[in-house]
C-alpha cells in the first residue's frame, strides 16, 4: 500500500500518539530501553507505557551488545525464542544480556515483565524459576495484586499494601524456589507483589513479583504495561477498561532516576 493514507486517519489516528497524563517533573530526559528478542510481544506496549509516563523509550535489539545511554531497561513479555527449552533460557544468552546483567549488577533499574521475569530468573539476576501453571491452563485475566514492597526502584510511587489490578496472561507463571529462598525473600522484604484471591498459577506463597537485594531489579508475571491508559486497561468501578494501575511502575522508575 502506498500514497495518501489520510483517508485512514482523517478522524485522527485509530490509536493516538501517547499523551503523558502523569509526567514526573524532570523525567522527560530519562531514557528507558526496551529489549526486543525474537518472539517478544509486548515490547511496543512497554515503550508506549514509558512514553505515557513522560520518558523516552529506546528500542534495544537482542543482538546489540551495548545499552547505548539508557538509564533503565525493561525486558518485555512474549515468547522469546518460542519458549524453546525453557521460558527465557535461550534469551538469557542473547548478546544484549551481557550488558543487561552488568548494568543490573551495577545498580541500573531493570524490570522483567512476564517472559522478561523468566529471563531474569534464568540469568540469575533474580532467584527461583517460573514453571507451567499448576492448572495446566494458559490464564488471561485482570488480576488483583497487593504491593508488598515500595522500597524498589519500580514500586516507590505505590503505597505499601496498596491493592492494584493489572492484566495477567501466562501459561508458565508458577513461581518456584526452595523453602530457604522463599523464607529469605519474605524475611528481607523482597516479595514485591502477591496475588490476591485465588492463586492463578500455583506460585509458591502466591508470589507474583520479587526484587533483588538492592531493589533495582524487579520481575513480575502480570503486565503493568497493559494498564497505563484509560480505554485499554482493566475494568474498574469507574467504567470498562479504565484501569491504569500499571502506571505506578513506570512513574516509580522515573522518580528513582530523577532523585538519583
Amino acid at each position: 500500500m502506498s500514497g495518501d493514507r489520510s483517508q485512514y486517519t482523517a478522524g485522527g489516528p485509530l490509536i493516538g500518539a501517547p499523551q503523558s497524563t502523569s509526567p514526573t517533573p524532570g523525567a522527560s530526559g530519562a531514557r528507558i530501553g526496551v529489549v526486543t528478542f525474537p518472539g517478544s510481544l509486548d515490547d511496543r506496549d512497554a515503550m508506549r507505557a514509558v512514553s505515557l509516563a513522560g520518558a523516552r523509550p529506546v528500542q534495544l535489539w537482542h543482538r546489540d551488545t551495548s545499552l547505548t545511554d539508557v538509564d533503565a531497561v525493561v525486558l518485555p513479555g512474549g515468547f522469546s525464542y518460542g519458549d524453546y527449552l525453557r521460558c527465557g533460557a535461550i534469551a538469557r544468552f542473547a548478546p544484549i544480556m551481557e550488558s543487561v546483567i552488568d548494568a543490573a549488577q551495577g545498580g541500573m533499574p531493570v524490570l522483567g515483565i512476564c517472559n522478561g521475569f523468566q529471563v531474569l530468573c534464568e540469568a540469575h539476576l533474580l532467584p527461583g524459576a517460573l514453571v507451567r501453571n499448576e492448572n495446566q491452563k494458559f490464564t488471561c485475566r485482570d488480576q488483583r495484586l497487593i504491593v508488598e514492597s515500595t522500597s524498589t526502584a519500580w514500586t516507590n510511587q505505590f503505597a505499601e499494601g496498596q491493592e492494584i489490578v493489572i492484566p495477567l496472561k501466562n501459561g508458565e507463571g508458577g513461581y518456584m524456589a526452595s523453602e530457604e529462598v522463599l523464607d529469605e525473600l519474605e524475611g528481607t522484604g523482597r516479595v514485591v507483589f502477591r496475588y490476591l484471591g485465588p492463586n492463578p498459577n500455583g506460585s509458591r506463597r502466591a508470589i507474583a513479583g520479587i526484587s533483588n537485594e538492592r531493589g533495582n531489579v524487579v520481575g513480575l508475571m502480570p503486565h503493568p504495561e497493559h494498564a497505563v491508559e484509560a480505554g485499554y486497561g482493566p475494568d474498574t468501578e469507574d467504567g470498562i477498561r479504565t484501569g491504569t494501575d500499571g502506571q505506578g511502575i513506570f512513574t516509580s522508575v522515573l522518580a528513582t532516576l530523577v532523585n538519583a
Partner: protein
C-alpha cells in the same frame, strides 16, 4: 563408533552422549499430570507420569574426559535449570544405536498409531 560422511568426503568417527533432565521430585509436573490423564482416557490406568527431556549431543571424535566435562557444563548451565530440574544421566551411547524411528518396534507402533489417527480424522 559410527562412520558418518564428513562434508569433505572423509569418514570420521562420531561420538554421542545423551543427557537426561527431569523435573525435581518436589516440583509439581503439570505436563506429566496431563499425560497421565490422557493415558487414563485410553484405558491405560495406574501410572503416575513425569515428563523429562532427553538431549543427544553428537560430535566428531571420542568422548574424552574433556568432552564429557564440556557436556557436564552444558548440562548444568543451559540444558537444565538447577532450581527446578535435575540432570539425572549423562552417558555415552553408541552412535549407530540412533533410533531411526520407523525401523524400531516402538517407532513402527507410533507410525501405526499416527496412521490410524489420520484415517480416523479423514473419516470425520
Amino acid at each position: 563408533m559410527d562412520k558418518q560422511s564428513h562434508p569433505e568426503g572423509k569418514r570420521v568417527d562420531m561420538g554421542r552422549v545423551v543427557v537426561e533432565v527431569m523435573p525435581k521430585p518436589e516440583i509439581l509436573d503439570p505436563q506429566g499430570k496431563a499425560i497421565g490423564t490422557g493415558l487414563q482416557r485410553l484405558g491405560i490406568e495406574g501410572f503416575e507420569v513425569r515428563q523429562g527431556k532427553r538431549f543427544e549431543l553428537t560430535f566428531e571424535g571420542e568422548a574424552t574426559p574433556e568432552v564429557i566435562a564440556e557436556i557436564e557444563r552444558a548440562a548444568t548451565t543451559l540444558l537444565s535449570n538447577p532450581v527446578i530440574e535435575d540432570v539425572v544421566a549423562i552417558r555415552e551411547e553408541a552412535a549407530e544405536a540412533r533410533a531411526e524411528h520407523p525401523s524400531t518396534a516402538i517407532g513402527a507402533a507410533s507410525d501405526a498409531v499416527a496412521e490410524a489417527n489420520d484415517v480416523e480424522a479423514s473419516a470425520r
